[in-house]
Symmetry: C2
Amino acid sequence: LPGFASVGSGVSEAPLPEWNLNIFLPPRSTAPVYRQIAKALAHEVQRGRLQPGDSLPGYRSLAEQLGVSRNTVMAAFQDLQAQGLIVSRTGSGSEIAAAPPVATAEVSGAASDAVLLQVPARGDMGFDLATGDRPAEPGVPEELPRTAGSGPDPRLLPVEILGRAYRRALASARRNECVLGDPQGHPRLRRALGAMLASSRGIAGGPERIFVTRGSQNAFFLIAQALIEPGEAVAVERLGPRSAWKALARAGARCLPIPVDDEGLDVEALAEVAASTRLRAVLVTPRRQYPTLVTLGPSRRARLLKLASERRFAVLEWDPDFELQFEARPVAPLAADDSQGVVIHVGTLSKLLGPNLRLGFVCGPEPLMRRMKAQRADFDGGGDLVFEQAVGDLMEEGELQSHLARMHPIYRRRRDALCAALSSELGTAVQAPPPAGGLALWVKVAPEIDVNAWASRSMQLGAPFRPGSHFDFRGAAVQGLRIGFASAREEELLDIARRMGRALIPATSGHASPVAMRIEHQ
Amino acid sequence: LPGFASVGSGVSEAPLPEWNLNIFLPPRSTAPVYRQIAKALAHEVQRGRLQPGDSLPGYRSLAEQLGVSRNTVMAAFQDLQAQGLIVSRTGSGSEIAAAPPVATAEVSGAASDAVLLQVPARGDMGFDLATGDRPAEPGVPEELPRTAGSGPDPRLLPVEILGRAYRRALASARRNECVLGDPQGHPRLRRALGAMLASSRGIAGGPERIFVTRGSQNAFFLIAQALIEPGEAVAVERLGPRSAWKALARAGARCLPIPVDDEGLDVEALAEVAASTRLRAVLVTPRRQYPTLVTLGPSRRARLLKLASERRFAVLEWDPDFELQFEARPVAPLAADDSQGVVIHVGTLSKLLGPNLRLGFVCGPEPLMRRMKAQRADFDGGGDLVFEQAVGDLMEEGELQSHLARMHPIYRRRRDALCAALSSELGTAVQAPPPAGGLALWVKVAPEIDVNAWASRSMQLGAPFRPGSHFDFRGAAVQGLRIGFASAREEELLDIARRMGRALIPATSGHASPVAMRIEHQ
């Protein structure tokens, strides 16, 4: 198509056949137009927007774009050819020469009357970023191999059903169903979530009490922004989700760590804090404590709800994996016992779908939902309604439930495989009781082992896990570790356990051993 | 399947065939187990989790779930049947009776030893929301008919190509390409955006200078959080995007309105402010001023960049519709002239794809990109990488460009149709010059017309538009209005212009006329 040539524009891996190459001429130049064009193109070469081998638009295309005659463009190209900047291409059209002159008289003078088209040097910045008293920045998420997290296996992503549902949702968006948007979440998905919560989790609450978020983290962020005033106190479990604490801190919360033991959150300790400090909320993971997986004891549950109601603080309950229950009867979420409207229940579908498919939900009192809805316009205006509708469809059709039923035996076998492998490869160095659900283990580590050092060395050997200190409020050492079992196959899990074992053996080379320990078993 | 019955759980429009109905028994009850089960089910009816007609799980299914014998469940069901709470269903299984007794002795005593499963009354909240000195809450987005906004037509959504690309991206996620995520945006999309910016907008900058956001609003939010400290001053155009100001204010910015005239932002007025106030940034829409569509004059452009560089403030440039240029040569974005790294360029693909498909981008100095990337973990962890990859694919394959080429003549005709209809229906009451691109008109309104009153009445008549005051920093009256032309067909646009005309005629009924005006034309 001689009328529509264009360029790869310096990104040689990704030639774009169809973006116009726009050349901007100075609006008030008195130079002959062909010279202006030549200078502008020369300048693009100088600053690297056009690179050797990039093809140039055809005469007609460029003439049309610039509103000049073809002859004017031809004259400009002849000028550039004479300078050695462009060459005629075999076939048709022209391209930037393989070795264009660094600077000609024409080019070096170009800045005087051509528009200055510049790119700042890498990292150049003509202004300053905020440096004041801001929440500490978290590190960019580390790029860890799979078992470091507790996500589902991407290889088990339900591509067919989700792809079909997405396409259907797109077609329905074309029929105008969700033009206007709903920052609280697509009504169909909220209805489906309401039915799921009522049936599976025992939480009665209609679509008005449900808010769809982009995963758990987004839920914590939106709740914190709606709930917390700067300087207010929020109690958290001493071992817990660091990223959630960051979302609370960003809203100005002062987080107060409360001990956790074999029955979960120490509610008596919380009561003492609540007696002396006005609490806005407590963040708790009652069914499978994050990360220790213990269950909040029955009397503590009742005491916690009573305390919250008396002191009027919110119970922010995170329950990310209720539907991933492999055996035994599930314990009810706190929200199922909440008669006073004190519980804000947070869950996620991300673990049921696939990694990076962020879809979380909040179930809580309607005034909170309305506040979150109003504020969301400032952040991003709402979620991805097409995706939300697609997942709502999958739930209403029972497809998500069927997918989950297929996943359960797979994940259960992987859990058992990792528990067995840890026991056989690490012996008494660890205790890894199989949890009744979820996608990760909490492994108790023998007291003589430096878990942080072990984690670093194990990561180097390709078997990453999170040391307990990662979950401690103050980063203190904890004799435990969290490792995901869902995203690796059984033979891969055995291999990982072996690497973890090798990482426990003190290095014999000149390298300083990261681990000082005695392993009873080996 | 008698072994897997379940319930619609009160949401009768959406029966869910496969979520288990989980019944939670009290962990320490001493009552006979069949009585515990009967009481728990009765309680679920009492609180509305189970509703008349809902089917109950089969004996075997419930026995398995609760870890009891089938006979125990049968005994419980017989008990409930005797109370009139459940009935046998024709075929198999049981369901909740059409009119279950309001409270039996059994049921009313249930709370004593069954787990309390409650739902708070609608709106009940056992805690308080933050009420302190917070940024004003915006109203929930109004549900306006199409022409109120300036979005694309959902009926022109490229369902086929986008649906295919999404499915391919899902399949590639299954092959593990984007497990780890990149909060800065999918590398393929950033590469494609880099090529587009270089070719089309004249902005040279590789993928490291590009950040993918969930639309323009999300871009403003993320930039503001990374850039601004509470209390800092940010200059804005006196007529401009209200939602962007809210994002700035949320980060603590003090927004200072600067006048706008026929050549855009009054840069001399800005210079005066900058001489007395330390500015962190200026938010500007140089190519098509939002909402007046005027172009920033050439000498003002140069002066603005020089001023920013001297005073070290950022130029936050919003250019939402560069690729929607129907005729005439496009003016270069400021970012194309930026040699000092002062410009942060914000654009969006949302208008090229479809409404609610939020996909924006930022191109700016790398240190800012890194800061935004680090902070994003707190908000939502990143965008939708599957969707981002799908759109990146469409761009690399030229599909998005082809779609755009198909849209251009359609939108151009609609623009012309609306301009003609406004002229024929409203005469000298308005002046609506056709813009060279974008998806909305800025219509100048004769001085004798009360634009706010006209807008309310026109909305009632089904022809919504935004009065100029909506865009004014202080909400003052402005003799202009913004109306989208892209999302309605030509005959619909004519109808809208007619309704706007009717809205201008003072009401004859007893209703107070919202408009006090003289129309020269009619």
